[in-house]
Assembly symmetry: none
Amino acid sequence: MRLLLVEDDRLLAEGITSQLEKAGFSVDITHTAKEAVILGEQEDYKAGVLDLGLPDGNGLDVLRQWRSSKVTFPVLILTARGDWQDKVNGLKAGADDYLAKPFQTEELIARLNAIMRRSEGRVHSTVKVGRFELDENRQCLQIEDGTEHSLTGTEFRLLRCLMGRPGHIFSKEQLMEQLYNLNESPNENIIEAYIRRLRKLVGPETIATRRGQGYLFNDAV
Amino acid sequence: MRLLLVEDDRLLAEGITSQLEKAGFSVDITHTAKEAVILGEQEDYKAGVLDLGLPDGNGLDVLRQWRSSKVTFPVLILTARGDWQDKVNGLKAGADDYLAKPFQTEELIARLNAIMRRSEGRVHSTVKVGRFELDENRQCLQIEDGTEHSLTGTEFRLLRCLMGRPGHIFSKEQLMEQLYNLNESPNENIIEAYIRRLRKLVGPETIATRRGQGYLFNDAV
DNA sequence: CACGAACCTGAACTCTTTCTGAAAATCCGG
DNA sequence: CCGGATTTTCAGAAAGAGTTCAGGTTCGTG
C-alpha cells in the first residue's frame, strides 16, 4: 500500500512516515513541489498526503497538475488550523479530505484509510474472497472453518494486494512495487518466500502460480 | 493486438506502421478525422495513436467524440514539439499520453505498451472467435463448454496472433517474426510444435493448415 | 504412381523459473 | 544491550517452459 507524503518539514515528515509504516503503509517522502508532481505522475500510489506550504510552490498547484494529468489517487491535504480558505480551495482542486495541523497521527491514518476505501468504492474494512476474510483493522485473516491468524505487516500487505483483485495476475515486479518504496529494493526472491508463507495459511491451491507471469488469488473456493 | 493510427502524412504513417507491426501490433491506418471517428466507434482496438493536425478537422474533436460515445481504449496523441497547449488540451479531452514530433518509434512503442498496461485494469480485454474467447489479462483461453485453460507465454502470443485475424493465413515466417526478435532464431519446426499444442486445446479442425502457405484460425464455429 | 517437400508427432533434452528449508540479518520493545 | 519476532538472503531441488530431433505421414506434382 504505497503512499506519497509531500511535506517540507523534514523532521515532521520522518515522524509521520515512521508511524505510517508501522500501520502497514509503504511511504515515499518528497519535500518539493516539483518532485511531488513527477513522482505522483510516474509512480503508482494508493493515496497522497499533501502539505500546502512548500518552498518551491503552492501545494494546490501540485494537486491541480496531478488532476489534470490523470493522477487519480485520493489526496488528503494538510492545512494550518482554521484556515477555511485553504480547505475550500483544496477540495475544489480535487482533494478528497483535509486535516488541520497539528494533528494526531492516528487520525491521519484513519482518514487515509477512509479516503482509500471510498476511492475503491468499499465501505467495509474487510475483504472477503471465497472462504477467506481479511480484516484490515485487526490485520488478521479469518477462515470459514472458524480459525483466525494474525499476520505480520508484510504478509498482510501482500495478501491484501492479491485478495483485493481475486483472479487477477500480479507480476512479481508489481508486487514488489506495492510492498516496497523507491529506497528499498530487496531480492525478488522475497516475494516467493512470502507467497510460500501465505500458502501455509490459505492452502497451496488458493494462491496459484502462473509461470513467467505472476501470482493470483483464486476466487473459486 | 489491434491499433488505430490516425495520421494524415501517408509516408510517415506507413513508416510507423511497418515498425509497429514488427513489434507485434496489427495496425489500421486512416488519414481523415471523419473515418477515424467511425472506425474508433465500430472496431475493437486496443489503443489509438492520434495526430492532431488532420486535413478535415481537429484531432482533439475526434478524441472528444470518441470519449463521448464510450470509446474507452487508451489514446496517445502526437503533438508538434513543445506545443504545451496541445498537450494540456489533449489530456483534458481524454488522452492517456502524448508524444512530441519528431520521435523515435521505439519510444512510441514503449509508451503504447505503457498506456495499454495501465488501461488493462479497467477494461476487460478479450478476443472472441466462434466458441473461443482469449482473455488477454489473464492469458487464458475460455471455451464455450465452460472449460478454461491457462496458456504459456509462447502459446498465448501465437494464439493471439491467429485469433486476432480469424480466417487470415499467417505464413510460418510471419509467425516466427511475431514470436521472436532478430537475435533469437530457433528452428522453424518450433511453429509446428506449438501449433500442435494449441490444436490439442482447440481441436484439430479449428486451426487449419494451408500447405506451403501457412496456418489460419477457422472463423466458422 | 513415385518422389520430394512440407507437415505432424512424441519424446528427449536444455534452460529458466519457482519452490523450499534453513540460516543470517534486522528491527523493536523492554 | 538482550531476546524474540520479523524480514531478507541463500543455495540446492523440483517443476515447467522452450526447443530440438528423428521418424512417420500427407500432399502435390511431374
